[in-house]
């Protein structure tokens, strides 16, 4: 059984890093979100190919004073919230870029 979780940034967003924070706007409803420093690390690592627990182990636990269990729990809470707003895709298998296509241009 594969318990790994993969996260990929949606293409239906606009995002910019400003200092330690990242501002993300949903392209479907123009809602604006601000991600703090830790959330920014997860956001930037959400490539659809790296499991969330690997992101947490390699990018969070090595830089911040937090246990792997708490860091993973918080990271899961974050990505679930982002997914609820359509900012990321979650899957139990790697996410191909083609699955992120948001459709039409003009």
């Amino acid at each position: 059984m594969n318990n790994k979780r993969y996260v990929a940034r949606s293409t239906a967003i606009a995002a910019r890093v400003l200092g330690d924070e990242t501002m993300v706007m949903s392209a479907t409803n123009s809602t604006l979100f601000t991600l703090d420093e830790v959330a920014t690390v997860i956001w930037e690592s959400a490539d659809g190919a790296t499991p969330l627990e690997e992101i947490v182990a390699n990018k969070i636990c090595t830089q911040y004073d937090v246990t792997p269990e708490i860091a993973l729990r918080d990271a899961e809470g974050l990505v679930e919230e982002l997914a609820e707003h359509g900012l990321v895709l979650l899957s139990d298998r790697p996410i191909a870029q083609s699955a992120l296509a948001s459709g039409g241009t003009k």
Binding site: T11, A12, I13, A14, R16, L18, G19, E21, M23, M25, S26, A27, T28, N29, S30, L32, T34, S102, G103, G104, T105, K106
Partner: protein, 271 residues
């Protein structure tokens, strides 16, 4: 020999906002005259136009109460809809049509939407803000309804040229952000002067016990500005364009919070 001169009824008019001439055509001369009155100061002397809209007038009473604006891209054209109008615009043919009753407000809304779409392609945007030119520089006063946009406009000294009390037109021109006068007005009920000037700064308005200016940086400035930019098209490409424009703008133009008391002394700070 007697000469009979027949006064020809107007069938179209070219309204030019932000240097973008748009021809509006209607079979009803009374409506054309209404447009001429509404957009006085923004009528083009030239017959040239970048885009054309045919306006079909629906009988009064056919509007619905739906106040939500929907702007979508479908099969090569923009569709714009609210309870009081339906419009479509094909950028590739530079033409479109508007269905509405005989009133100036529906057309005003369509023009605002069209200008947000045009500006987004060029790094600009429309923003909820009053604006004025003083000493050759433009100042924007941005805020939601009730924040004081019209109040600031009404308090402006005689040497300030008002560009709008409601919707400011921000264009990227020769690498500089420029404020352009618009006929889009709020409570002041009068069009802005058809002038333009480089933007000196943006003030995010807040009413308070004393006049005070505080610089805003980073995310606060972007968040404050984005919260007041007009977004009509729920379209990923256009949201990204406007989002990027807001970041670029904030990186080049100072954004401050202006807390003010509603009297003329606030303009002593705007120099």
């Amino acid at each position: 020999m007697p000469v009979v001169t027949v006064a020809q009824e107007p069938s179209d008019v070219v309204v030019e906002i932000g240097g973008q001439p748009i021809r509006l055509r209607s079979g009803d001369p009374a409506f054309i005259r209404l447009i001429q009155d509404r957009y006085a100061g923004y009528l083009s002397c030239s017959d040239e136009a970048s885009f054309e809209f045919d306006i079909e007038l629906a009988p009064p009473g056919t509007e619905s109460g739906d106040e939500d604006v929907r702007v979508t891209w479908d099969s090569g054209r923009w569709l714009m809809e609210r309870g009081d109008f339906r419009a479509e615009w094909n950028p590739s043919t530079a033409s479109g049509r508007i269905e509405q009753t005989i009133n100036p407000y529906s057309l005003d809304s369509v023009l605002r939407i069209v200008h947000t779409l045009l500006l987004a392609r060029k790094g600009g945007f429309l923003v909820h803000a009053s604006s004025a030119i003083r000493n050759g520089r433009a100042f924007l006063f941005s805020g939601v309804s009730g924040a004081g946009k019209t109040t600031i406009a009404k308090l402006a000294p005689p040497d300030a040229a008002l560009l709008t009390d409601e919707i400011s037109y921000v264009a990227l021109q020769d690498g500089r952000y420029t404020a352009v006068g618009t006929p889009f007005y709020g409570e002041l009920a009068r069009a802005g002067e058809n002038l333009r000037a480089p933007i000196e700064c943006v003030y995010l308005l807040a009413k308070g016990p004393e006049n005070k200016i505080e610089p805003l940086g980073g995310t606060d400035a972007v968040r404050g500005l984005l919260g007041n930019i007009l977004f009509f098209a729920r379209d990923p490409e256009f949201v990204k364009l406007v989002f990027d424009a807001a970041f670029d703008f904030v990186s080049r133009v100072p954004v401050h919070r202006l807390t003010f008391v509603a009297d003329a002394r606030v303009w002593e700070l705007i120099v």
